[in-house]
């Protein structure tokens, strides 16, 4: 630990931030920079790995170690780094195209292995850096440059996908709600294992207002469902209840379901409340369970116990012969 506590400015790099003015990424960057001192780690012990896309420029703007890699591969690169360097705090910054389209395979495998990394998935439901094509989270019917008469793709629900991969920490937050964003980041950082944080992020150039329903003071109370461990799931004048068959429903009366982040089935059911329409969107921690991490288990099998004699014996093998 340094003697003087670090501040947000200690985590800013000297590089000019080059996102479009008004981009939701600015708010996320500011929140992360103001949160990082809380980690109690020196900048050199933190690594941000990213893929390709607007969000993936993130590491350049932090004073930590940073690796801006290639499209979709950040979870794989972070896996190798995290497994071989337990002393580091490894983060992945990715977007909906990077993580769910080209990098979908690496994402689900990192999640199922429970590698000790924290993944921030900026979901703006559009391809920004390639200038506005639909993404794997875009709503059906989306009219974009590559879908002039509307997209026919069915989108991923990132939370359901992560839970399906048995991820041990799954959360959702919103770029504009700084307090909630930091609260979720804190929990994600504390979690040992893979943490997936989906951050709804506004692309004001190619998909402006995608999450307005959740931000507009006149609609958000009816749409946003805050999840808090051990507390009844209530919002506005409504609540989440179980119907006669046990399925979750939004209702104005009835016994509200109490949120339990260790209950995978509940987490999955909650993730299905919101479709692309966002009209009932839970935010907060869907799932948080402690399970052995891949890193720890791999390292438990690896050591440097073998000495030079062992190496010589290995090279010699069981059946050598000598010629004099």
């Amino acid at each position: 630990m340094t003697e003087i506590p670090l501040k947000a400015k200690d985590f800013k790099s000297d590089q000019e931030v080059r996102w479009c003015p008004g981009c939701g990424d600015y708010a996320i960057l500011a929140a992360v920079q103001s949160f990082l001192p809380e980690l109690g780690r020196k900048p050199e012990d933190i690594v941000f790995v990213s893929g390709i896309g607007c969000s993936s420029r993130f590491p350049y703007y932090l004073s930590t170690y940073g690796l801006h890699s290639i499209h979709g591969r950040a979870p794989a690169i972070a896996t190798g780094l995290s497994v071989s360097r337990p002393d580091l705090d490894v983060w992945v910054v990715t977007g909906d195209g990077d993580a769910l389209s080209i990098g979908g395979n690496h994402l689900i495998h990192a999640l199922r292995r429970n590698v000790n990394i924290t993944i921030l998935l900026f979901n703006n439901r559009i391809y920004g850096l390639t200038k506005g094509q639909y993404s794997p989270t875009s709503e059906p019917g989306k009219v974009t440059k590559s879908t002039p008469v509307g997209s026919v793709d069915r989108p991923f629900n990132p939370i359901s996908l992560a839970l399906g991969a048995d991820a041990t920490f799954v959360a959702r937050t919103i770029d504009s709600d700084r307090a909630h964003l930091i609260e979720v980041l804190r929990a994600a950082a504390e979690h040992r294992g893979t943490s997936l944080v989906e951050i709804y992020q506004n692309c004001n150039i190619f998909n402006d207002g995608a999450f307005d329903l959740l931000k507009n003071p006149t609609t958000r109370d009816e749409a946003l469902i805050p999840l808090r461990a051990g507390e009844p799931i209530v919002f506005g004048d409504r609540r989440v209840v179980r119907d006669a068959t046990g399925h979750l429903q939004v209702s104005e009366h009835g016994e509200p379901v109490v949120h339990d982040p260790t209950d995978l089935e509940l987490a999955f059911a909650l993730s299905r409340l919101s479709g692309v329409a966002l009209d009932h969107t839970p935010i907060g921690i869907f799932r948080s369970v402690e399970q052995p991490t891949y890193d720890d288990e791999v390292r438990a099998q690896t050591d440097d116990r073998a000495n030079e004699d062992d190496l010589q014996a290995l090279l010699t093998g069981p059946d050598p012969w000598t010629v004099n």
Partner: protein
């Protein structure tokens, strides 16, 4: 063991034996054991496993034939041999598939039990080749292997199927008798292999001895053979395959550079054995990661390298294609990374279990942009050890990805190896950056070592050196994102200059009198057959020079000079002329290719013929 004295022993200089049967007949194991016995006898040897990609291809069919060829001799040999002197054929398919390969008059030990009408029909025969004159020019020894094995194992309480399974040990016993081999080593091997199955162990040992005794007593075999030990330099030897030697080379290199070894890999034939082998040695500070795909394999290896490990990924041709983008990233990041490509027949899935060397241009150029890497190729199975160490030296010293091009023949072929003394292996200092290097006390991640042009390897966790790197073009020295035209031109040239400047040994030429007109130059696994061909031509009293490239990028500084000092240059390759293209393009020499892509190594007579043809044209 008592041997009937009436049987005559004939001394031979060298013998080529081919074991051929169904994929499930245990031919690879039988060949492997006979190889060990030959090694223990002090013979020089070389092997060629030749098997189908299917694990259990349809029984009794031509595509299902699995073969193992062994060449052993009382002198230094460099190839697994050409025309076998002896064939052990377990069924009609194995017999007919091997027949065209055999030397006239070759001895055929044939399992007569399998020549049923049904089995003959499977390969389109209406009459048995044992009954017509198909085998007239060969010396045929009919042995009903399964029934004799079952007979020998009567009283062991095994079912007929289980007893028949030991027929390969019966055949091995017979061969062992034929060539004066001791059975002890194979018994030890069986003891280990079947330690937990005492019944099967007893049956296999009994079948081994029964085969030996059969040779001793039957009147079908009247001559035994002996191949004297080969004179080799004093030392301790073992047999080793290319994949094993490569694995050991990686472990040794990591130890000698005090780096943890991290292998990220996805299973692929014929490279998987390296993943298997390294996975067994985790107490040498080896981490193995079986990734979700080829891209994740190299991605994780690169992530580990970024963190200060010796990052390695292993694959074969199709996997190398998938890794291209990440290799490009490693070129841009300028981090040490080892990419092992055990080449196989291509394109696409191609011939997974057969050898080829057609990935040379992919290794050198198969990426977007100007993306130079170092390329190293071993020349023999045991040379995979040294080549791996050399590849690690270049990767770590120059902070660059290095492609190590082995192939299916090297991977699975075996030869004796003079076991090195660890103390003789070079040590390597990774030289991690520890403090800022800039004139104003700042850290410049792309400030280069003036000698090697390598940049600092500044690993996370190092105070004061936190920096950002990525695949976007970086400014010289600072490493910040730069779209400046002049900077890009500078960086492209710097990356190339770094690779071009790698210190590699001069190309050595074997030209005994120094006045040959023809130079034969190759790379990789063709070393054995080219050398054998050159020896044959020289035995005819003719002159020919030979050189072999271990470094394909950069090539040795004297390569052009060597090439230009011969009137004719011949380049035999198991591709359609990839090295020849490079030599012609780079050095303006009229290099002539000899090219063949049959999934099999060249043979010595083939090399002899093509060299003679070139000489006649000189």
């Amino acid at each position: 063991m008592v041997t009937t004295p009436s049987k005559k022993t004939v001394r031979l200089s060298r013998v080529i034996v081919r074991f051929a049967g169904d994929s499930g007949d245990g031919m690879q194991l039988t060949g492997d054991r006979f190889t060990w016995e030959s090694a223990a006898n002090g013979n020089d040897l070389s092997t060629l496993p030749d098997f189908p990609a299917e694990i259990r291809a349809p029984q009794g069919t031509l595509p299902g034939v699995s073969a193992f060829q062994l060449h052993f001799a009382d002198h230094d040999i460099v190839t697994p041999g050409d025309a076998p002197d002896v064939l052990v054929a377990m069924n009609p398919a194995a017999l007919m598939a091997s027949l065209p390969l055999l030397k006239p008059g070759a001895e055929i030990i044939v399992n007569t039990d399998e020549f049923s009408k049904r089995n003959l029909t499977k390969i389109g025969l209406t009459t048995s080749p044992l009954d017509d004159d198909t085998l007239a020019t060969f010396s045929v020894r009919p042995v009903p292997l399964p029934s004799m094995t079952v007979e020998a194992l009567a009283g062991f309480g095994l079912g007929k199927k289980d007893a028949e399974r030991a027929k390969n040990m019966f055949a091995l016993g017979l061969l062992s008798w034929l060539y004066h081999r001791e059975l002890d080593a194979t018994e030890h091997f069986l003891n280990d292999k079947f330690a937990r199955k005492p019944e099967i162990l007893k049956a296999n040992v009994a079948a081994l001895h029964a085969g030996y005794n059969y040779g001793d007593t039957t009147e079908d075999f009247v001559v035994r053979y002996e191949v004297a030990p080969a004179p080799v330099p004093a030392g301790t030897y073992r047999n080793i395959s290319g994949n094993l030697a490569l694995s050991y080379g990686l472990i040794a290199a990591a130890r000698r550079s005090a780096l943890p070894l991290f292998l990220g890999s996805y299973p692929i034939t014929p490279a998987s054995d390296i993943l298997h082998e390294l996975s067994r040695h985790k107490h040498f500070n080896v981490t193995t990661f079986q990734a979700e795909d080829e891209i994740a394999g190299i991605g994780a290896a690169l992530g580990a390298a970024y963190g200060g490990a010796l990052g390695v990924t292993t694959t074969s041709g199709p996997g190398l294609a998938l890794k291209s983008e990440t290799i490009g990233l490693a070129v841009a990041l300028e981090l040490p990374l080892l990419v092992v490509d055990v080449q196989r027949g291509g394109p696409s899935t191609g011939l997974p279990t057969k050898t080829e060397q057609a990935d040379l241009l992919q290794a050198l150029y198969g990426r977007n942009g100007e993306s130079p890497v170092a390329v190293v190729a071993p020349k023999s199975p045991s040379d995979c050890f040294d080549a791996a160490i050399e590849a690690v030296r270049i990767a770590v010293t120059y902070r660059t990805p290095v492609l190590l091009l082995s192939d299916g023949y090297l991977a699975n072929g075996q030869e004796p190896w003079a076991i090195p003394d660890l103390a003789d292996l070079p040590t390597l200092n990774p030289g991690f950056a520890t403090e800022p290097n800039g004139p104003d006390g700042e850290f410049l991640p792309f400030l280069r070592d003036p000698e090697t042009l390598a940049r600092p390897w500044a690993i996370p966790g190092t105070p004061g050196l936190a920096h950002r790197v990525g695949g976007i073009e970086k400014a010289d020295r600072t490493g910040n994102i730069s779209y400046d035209p002049d900077n890009h031109d500078t960086m492209v040239r710097l990356r190339q200059a770094k690779i071009d400047g790698i210190d590699v040994p001069d190309l050595e030429v074997d030209d005994p009198d120094g006045d040959a007109d023809l130079l034969v130059i190759g790379w990789g696994s063709t070393y054995g057959p080219i050398t054998a061909g050159v020896r044959r031509v020289r035995k005819e009293g003719k002159k020919v020079a030979q050189a072999h490239l271990r470094h394909l990028s950069p090539m040795p500084k004297n390569t052009g000079e060597v090439l230009r000092s011969y009137r004719k240059v011949l380049v035999p390759e198991m591709n359609l002329g990839q090295l020849a293209l490079l030599l012609r393009g780079r050095f303006l020499v009229d290099a002539v290719g000899f090219n063949q892509v049959r999934g099999l190594p060249f043979t010595a007579p083939q090399m002899q013929d093509v060299i003679n043809e070139m000489l006649e044209g000189v």
